[in-house]
Amino acid sequence: MALAQRAYNDLRLLGVCAVLALYPLLDLCLPTALQIIPLMPPVLIFALVGLGLCVATGFTGLLHLGVAAFIAIGAYTFAITTCSIYPFQLPWIGGVILAGAIGSATGALLALPTMRLRGDYLAIVTLGFGEIVQDILRNLEVITKGTQGINPLRGPSIAGFQISSVTPTGWYYVILAILAVISLLLQRVVNSPIGRAWFALRDDELAASCMGVNPARTKLATFAISAGLCAIAGALLASFLGSSGEPSNYDFQVSIMALSMVIVGGLGSIPGAILGAVIMVGINSIVLAKIADGLSNVAAGSSNVLLSPANWKYMIFGLTLVLMMRFKSEGLMPPRQTGVKKP
């Protein structure tokens, strides 16, 4: 029975991978209005943010409202270390790894004074941190160019093939590969003593501590990993957009968006975090964008705000969250353990 279940799971995973890997071929055959691959990279990048948030909030139970700050730190680190207006000019992969490392270090620094906080208090501190980082980036004009943003930024080049905004399929595969590797590694961590310590800390901090888990050190590691993943996502985003963007692109909305993704997908589940990102960001940057394209032909020049699909965004998000909480509060793909049986 357990073996059959495992074989089924493996088969399903293989199917999902095959669809993800082969879909771009199908996409090329579709008319332009239905092509979605050029819009997919931000969705996959947000899936990575979802994984990062899932580590802190889903696995360890630390409510984190400042992930946007770490996306910003990743984006700016990548921009400063690879852009040609600075002397560093690291190769693409060097910039991404350094962004992850600096993001992790900042995450650990944020965790140091907050190790003894839980729940609401931690949420307030992370929220404040998100605002502080935006202000710092805006005011360190000499280093970060203030509100101008840093550009131009390059995409990766693989075996002499330069990936840029004109090769969206290339971007899709690069980010998909990074997402796949990171999900696999994260799954391994979750199924190890480290992951067990995270879950234990979420369930009962005192009991975990009495069983030998050092809560401070574990939270520090959680924050560092979470921040590192978000920073890598930030670096990819900056590289994809060709610019770090301005600091206010990384505001509280982004953090809340990430949190809703994780909740919709199912707190504490890796596939859930990815699915949540695909749904929430997918609605925002694919479905609404396509509807907007369609509507602009029909109702060109109309000044009615309701005819602009970008304005539907928050209504749809709000409705999704309310419906989720009402009908499936554990998320679309909750972690397997809570699905077994309930007392």
Partner: protein
């Protein structure tokens, strides 16, 4: 035990105060290896407080706890000292650099870098150093030294606060269960026991990521040991059930299995028989005896006199935070102070 006369656990004149309330006053007790000992007393006598002192949840206001003759607090080592000094140095440097960040960046990078020309890093470092050298000293040395002092003091304080914590107590081979069951409810029974091994399992994070052969072998070994422990407490076949879905008595036994997973020398059971029916209590008595046969000493808090008097070799009686009697069950049972404490004699001198 290596030395017969050194007790496994000894508490010397422990006093715990919460504001004006004295929860434990000058309590001393000791447990020797492979012994079953008990702490009894009316509600609010300070029994759990004593347990919490041993496991580092509370820090006693006075008195010492020692395990195998050695203080349970971690000693100050060179390692700790070096770590604090390094932290201090890093923080001091970071403080100095961040306060001067913009002008330093301007002097060392913006003024020297010509777009798309090769960059001389040595010249940049020299320019940066020269800039710092020309600054007023409160902005350079002042910040470095104050950051260093602040962070060193801070990390030493943190160390001082964590000298005796629940997780250091487990490392000293003392494990416990809780009065109100505290299992990891969203984890399976097996995972609960596996987590109990946290203090003895050594895995390198890198080995986790690579799933090395050694890592997988160790996981398998730990899994077997955990299954064996579940068998031992009578929970065979429940390995994959969620902890929260187990019946009450099984949850109590799972907590014992989890506590045993850290291979302790002493296990503290806080009211293990609370809420159990007579047949479950019989099984529990049997289980406690078998725990001792594994070479693990047991210290229990219990209200069921039948259970305590039946299996304990040594009993300590607390009332209002003070020790009023101790000794073998027969002696304690006849002690007039104990009888008064339980039956509420008003002529007692308390």
């Amino acid at each position: 035990m290596s030395a017969g006369d050194i007790p496994l656990l000894s508490l010397h004149n422990i006093t715990v105060r919460f504001g004006g309330l004295v929860a434990a006053h000058n309590v001393s007790l000791s447990v020797s290896g492979k012994q079953i000992a008990a702490v009894i007393g009316p509600n609010g006598a300070g029994k759990t407080t004593v347990f919490n002192c041993v496991t580092g949840i509370y820090a006693p206001n006075a008195g010492t706890v020692s395990v195998q003759g050695r203080d349970i607090q971690e000693a100050l080592t060179w390692h700790v000292l070096c770590k604090s000094l390094t932290t201090g140095l890093l923080c001091g440097t970071a403080l100095m650099l961040s306060v001067n960040a913009q002008s330093l960046w301007d002097a060392a990078i913006n003024q020297l870098y010509v777009y798309e020309q090769p960059f001389d890093w040595l010249a940049s470092i020299k320019a940066g150093a020269a800039y710092l050298h020309n600054q007023e000293y409160p902005l350079t040395w002042g910040l470095l030294v104050s950051g260093f002092l602040f962070a060193t003091a801070g990390s030493l304080t943190m160390w001082q606060r964590t000298r005796h914590t629940p997780y250091t107590a487990v490392r000293r081979k003392i494990s416990r269960t809780f009065q109100n069951i505290r299992l990891f409810r969203s984890m399976t029974a097996l995972d609960n026991v596996l987590l109990g091994m946290h203090s003895i399992s050594k895995t390198h994070p890198l080995a986790t990521l690579l799933r090395t052969k050694r890592f997988r072998q160790q996981e398998e070994r730990e899994r077997q040991a955990a299954l064996e422990l579940l068998d031992f407490v009578g929970l065979e076949g429940c390995a994959d059930s969620l902890a929260s879905s187990l019946p009450y008595g099984s949850q109590r036994r799972l907590e014992i299995a989890r506590a045993l997973a850290s291979k302790p020398l002493l296990i503290l059971l806080d009211e293990p028989a609370a809420g159990m029916n007579p047949s479950e209590m019989g099984e529990l008595t049997n289980l406690i005896a078998r725990i001792r046969e594994r070479g693990v000493a047991v210290l229990l808090i219990e209200h069921h006199m039948k259970l305590v008097m039946g299996i304990s070799e040594h009993i300590t009686v607390l009332e209002y935070g003070e020790k009023i009697a101790e000794g073998a069950p027969d002696v304690v049972k006849r002690d007039p102070k104990v009888i008064a404490a339980y039956l509420g004699d008003t002529h007692d001198d308390h």
